[in-house]
Each structure stands twice: as structure tokens, then as C-alpha cells.
């Protein structure tokens, strides 16, 4: 992005031209990929022209003023419909911007459109969208991952230079891995969630997806920081870009948890991740085998909490104030019919699960127990991060699967096997592309670190990225 910024600064390209290029690319590629639910080309062009005028007056809002962005469609955009890929909100137009949208607008970024996702971010393949599946740009028969599949695919296909996603159990990192882009789930509480349609508030975070580590870091620097509207992020810290220095890896203690390299891990993925670990070692990092024994419980803990919170968060969709409504003679029937008509099967499934685990008789057995296990997971992760500075794992056990391949919901839930831990413990986690499998599908490697230590993730990922590029160039 530095290059683009320099071109803009030198007037070798205008923001309008830049946005047009992306809109053209969207027009060409998106009919196949379906990364976007809504393309806001006209508005983006208007915003681009504003950016050009600002730049001409020497009043650019940021170095990135005029570089466009795509926004996941569960992030509120004022005046631009925000569907959450749900029939329920197909016509819903927010009257306010999410904090992160405000932030990118403040930096002058035109919004190209709203990207596809699994309905209400519930899923790992973007197949559960009321607006059709998003296809993987590397293989149109395969999924882009999810739930931020649209954002990942848009960036991978060159339809957007970068994008915003949300991550509750892996929803930025898994599609980033599947599509071969960089994705960060920030520390819980580092980025405001205000205006992001909640899936599970104790797990949700907004984060960047980009083609390279530096771009992800730049976008993250626009997002991070305190926001008084989000009680959780009101004590956050801003983020400034780190020194990009391969030497920053030297002496880092890198933990490799054995539980993430067991059965179920695709050997090609394992190999690619091991190769990267080798690079880190060569750069001076000290690899250390560690244990994160609680990851065994991560998926079930995650599912219990996510469904419980989601069942409550999605209760407001009742057909009274906005969204879909199916008329009936009484209010309760109107609620039940509207919700039945507005929600897809996966959403209904999770609402049912969540309602069950919260119900009076089951609460202690399921929800409360899951919260206790979560506390245990947090202790386990905190313990590990006392021994090491970073934890490195594969992002996903496998590369992108075929559309329609996973029919059993539990099988789909296992997509988050390596990613849910970071959400449960609130730590930051980044997925970096690390080679491809024999089919040419991208593989992702995941870096996890201590709370508020995103800088270290970026530096390590940058180092690996640079060695890979050198390898490719050679």
C-alpha cells in the first residue's frame, strides 16, 4: 500500500482512477466469485473524488486517503444496507456507522461495497449466506472460507486492496488462510465493536484482511484504539506501525503446541508450517515445543458460548422495529413467523442450541460449565505465553474444501479447531499465507501472542513473509 500511497501522493494516479480499477475488477470477477453482497460504486467514486480534491489542496486525511476498502456486511454502514447475509435484514439500512467504519472514513478510505459472509457470521464457508456462496478465487469449486469469506475472496481476487472482517472463532483467519491473504484477529477489546452486528459479544473482534503483512498492520493501525461507545474497548490502546526489521525475530521464543500437529492435520499443511518454522529458526527465533492441552475442549466450549450469546443477540430480530415481518394475528406468532421466514437453517440451529444451553435447567450444566472451561483455557494460554513470546500453529487443519462438501454441522464446526482458542482467551492471532498444497490451494500459518502484543505478530509474520518472497523471487 505504500507504493499506492506514493503514487497518489505524486499524482501519478488519482483515487478516482484507483477506485475505477477496483470497480472494473469487481465487475469482471465478482459474477463468478460473489464476494460482494452490495457494491457501492457510485458512492465510492464520489468519495474518491473528494479524496482527490483533498489531496490537491494538500489536506489528505491520511497517507491512505483515497485507497478504497471493502467492508464485511455485518458491519454497519450509514445509508448503505447492511444485510448480515440474512433475508431478515435484506432491506436494512443503518442510521449510523460502526466505529471502525468511522475510522476508515476518517482516514479517507472510499467504501467499495459490502462483502458476503455466512448469515450473521455463523459458519466457516460463506455457504450459509442468503445471497449465494462466495467462491474461492484460487478454485471456483471451493469455498472461500468463512465467515469473512467475501472479504478474503475480494482481497485475494484483487477486487479490493484490503477489507474489514470480523472474527468470533476464526472468521477472519480461516478464510484468509483459504484465500491466501493476511488476516488478523486483534486482542479482544483492542478494536471497538460498536456498530458490528453481534454474534457473540464476548468473542467478536473486527480486524483487517490484506494482501501482505504491512498492509494488514496499516489497516489495523486505523482500527485500534479506545472507543467510549464500547465498554470493552474503552480502555484499549492505539497501535502504531512497528519497525519492519527481520532482526526483530532474533531471540524470540516461539512455542509450537504439539496438540495442533496431531492427527487430523493435513500433512501438506504440516509440511508448509514446519518449513515456515524453519525459517523463523534461521532468523534467530528459538523454537520450543509447548502444550496447550485445553485446546481439546476449545470447539465445544466455543460452540456453547457462541450459540448461547448468539441466541440472545439475535432475539432482537422480531419484526417490530426493522427487518423482515410476516404478519399474524398476534405478536408472538408474528415474531415466530418473521424469524422463521428471515433466518436460514444454520442460524436457526444455533439459536436452538443457544436457547437450550441457557435454559434454566441446563444453564449450570452447559453454559456455566463452558465458561469455567473457558477460564481454564485462559489460564492454559496465559501459562504458555509466560514460557514463550509467540505461539505458532497452522491456521486450519486443511486447505479450502469443496462447496457442499461439509454437510454435517459438527464437521463444519471443526473448521475452527485451531482458531477458536484465541477468541476464547482474547489473545491476538494472525494468519499468514505459507505456501500452497499440491492442488495449488493456499495454506495458512497462525501466529498468536499476548494481549495487546499485535506488534510482535506483525513483525514475526513479516519476517516469514519476506523470506518466502525471496524464495519465490529466487
Amino acid at each position: 500500500m505504500r507504493k499506492t500511497a506514493a503514487l497518489l501522493e505524486k499524482r501519478q494516479i488519482s483515487s478516482e482512477e484507483l477506485v475505477k480499477q477496483y470497480l472494473t475488477r469487481i465487475e469482471e470477477a465478482d459474477p463468478q466469485i460473489n464476494a460482494f453482497i452490495t457494491c457501492s460504486g457510485e458512492e465510492a467514486l464520489a468519495q474518491a473524488r473528494d479524496a482527490d480534491r483533498r489531496r490537491a489542496r494538500g489536506e489528505a486525511l491520511s497517507p491512505w486517503d483515497g485507497i478504497p476498502i471493502a467492508v464485511k456486511d455485518n458491519i454497519s454502514t450509514m445509508g448503505l444496507r447492511t444485510t448480515c447475509a440474512s433475508k431478515f435484514l435484506a432491506e436494512y439500512v443503518p442510521v449510523f456507522d460502526a466505529a471502525v467504519v468511522e475510522n476508515v472514513r476518517k482516514a479517507g478510505l472510499p467504501i467499495l461495497g459490502k462483502t458476503n459472509l455466512d448469515e450473521f457470521a455463523m459458519g466457516s464457508s460463506s455457504e450459509y449466506s442468503a445471497f449465494g456462496v462466495t467462491k474461492n478465487p484460487h478454485d471456483l469449486e471451493r469455498v472461500a472460507g468463512g465467515s469473512s469469506g467475501g472479504s478474503a475472496a475480494a482481497v485475494a481476487a484483487g477486487e479490493a486492496p484490503w477489507a474489514l472482517g470480523t472474527d468470533t472463532g476464526g472468521s477472519i483467519r480461516q478464510p484468509a488462510a483459504f484465500c491466501g491473504v493476511v488476516g488478523l484477529k486483534p486482542t479482544y477489546g483492542r478494536v471497538s465493536r460498536y456498530g458490528v452486528v453481534a454474534l457473540a459479544p464476548s468473542l467478536d473482534q473486527v480486524g483487517p484482511l490484506a494482501t501482505c503483512v504491512e498492509d494488514a498492520a496499516i489497516l489495523f493501525s486505523l482500527l485500534a484504539g479506545p472507543d467510549r461507545r464500547d465498554a470493552i474497548s474503552s480502555q484499549s490502546r492505539p497501535f502504531s506501525l512497528p519497525e519492519w526489521d527481520l532482526d526483530s525475530v532474533r531471540g524470540l521464543r516461539v512455542g509450537v503446541p504439539k496438540e495442533f500437529f496431531g492427527s487430523g492435520l493435513n500433512p501438506e499443511v504440516e509440511q508448509a508450517v514446519n518449513a515456515c518454522l524453519g525459517e523463523l529458526e534461521r532468523l534467530g527465533a528459538q523454537l520450543q515445543s509447548i502444550s496447550l492441552y485445553t485446546n481439546e475442549y476449545a470447539i465445544e466450549t466455543y460452540l456453547t458460548i457462541v450459540t448461547a450469546e448468539a441466541s440472545s443477540c439475535l432475539a432482537r430480530f422480531d419484526g417490530v422495529r426493522y427487518g423482515r415481518r410476516v404478519e399474524a394475528a398476534d405478536s408472538n406468532t408474528m415474531f415466530a413467523k418473521s424469524r422463521a421466514a428471515g433466518f436460514g437453517p444454520e442460524v436457526k440451529r444455533r439459536i436452538m442450541l443457544g436457547t437450550y444451553v441457557l435454559s434454566a435447567k441446563q444453564y449450570k450444566l452447559f453454559y456455566e460449565q463452558a465458561q469455567r472451561v473457558r477460564a481454564l483455557i485462559q489460564q492454559d494460554v496465559a501459562q504458555a505465553l509466560k514460557q514463550v513470546d509467540l505461539i505458532v500453529t497452522p491456521t486450519t487443519p486443511n486447505t479450502a474444501f469443496k462447496i457442499g462438501e461439509k454437510r454435517n454441522p459438527l464437521e463444519m464446526y471443526l473448521s475452527d479447531l485451531y482458531t477458536a482458542l484465541a477468541n476464547l482467551s482474547g489473545i491476538p492471532a494472525l494468519s499468514l499465507p505459507c505456501g500452497r498444497d499440491s492442488r495449488g490451494l493456499p495454506i495458512g500459518i497462525q501466529f498468536m501472542g499476548r494481549h495487546f502484543e499485535e506488534e510482535l505478530l506483525f513483525q514475526a509474520a513479516y519476517a516469514v513473509e519476506q523470506t518466502q518472497r525471496r524464495g519465490e523471487d529466487a
Partner: protein, 97 residues
């Protein structure tokens, strides 16, 4: 095992109208889910405390000051059924009927 009746009870609580087919599907899914969650029950959690899951674990407070409300028209703009400045809803039947 969760039976059909329990599924109906949950669906009522969640305000979801289900088809016969869906009831059966949810019954299967929920049972499968609970079976997979069984292993959580076995975890020795000791005296771990519940609920405080975040690093910034206490909340800061907002001063008691007014901020502008939305204009009435914007409040009502998304409403599927609006009448005289209000949202309109059909007959309200008390919980449980």
C-alpha cells in the same frame, strides 16, 4: 435425549416457527451437539470463576449527559408497520399461550 416436546418448548422460547421436518432435524442436531459437549462435563474445573473473560475487566462509566436522539422519522424509517409515530404490533397475548 431431547425429545420432540423439548424441541417445541425451545422453539417457543426462541420464537421460531418450525416445520415438522425442522423439528426432527433440530432434534437430531441438538442431540448430536449435546453428545459432543459431553466431554466438557468431565473437565475438572476446580474453583475457576465464571464470567470475567476479558483483559480490561472493569467498566468505565459514562457521564450523565444528553446526546442527540435520532429524529422520529429515522427511528421509524425501518419499521415494517408504523402508525402515527408508533410502531404497530398485532394483539399481544401474555407469555406462554
Amino acid at each position: 435425549m431431547i425429545d420432540r416436546q423439548e424441541i417445541m418448548r425451545i422453539a417457543r422460547l426462541a420464537r421460531l416457527e418450525l416445520t415438522e421436518e425442522e423439528i426432527e432435524q433440530h432434534r437430531r442436531d441438538l442431540n448430536q451437539f449435546l453428545a459432543s459437549c459431553a466431554k466438557l462435563q468431565e473437565v475438572e474445573v476446580g474453583d475457576t470463576t465464571v464470567g470475567y473473560t476479558i483483559p480490561a475487566a472493569t467498566q468505565t462509566l459514562r457521564e450523565d449527559e444528553l446526546t442527540p436522539s435520532l429524529p422520529q422519522a429515522e427511528v421509524l424509517a425501518g419499521g415494517p408497520c408504523v402508525e402515527g409515530g408508533f410502531f404497530r404490533v398485532p394483539r399481544i397475548v401474555e407469555e406462554g399461550e
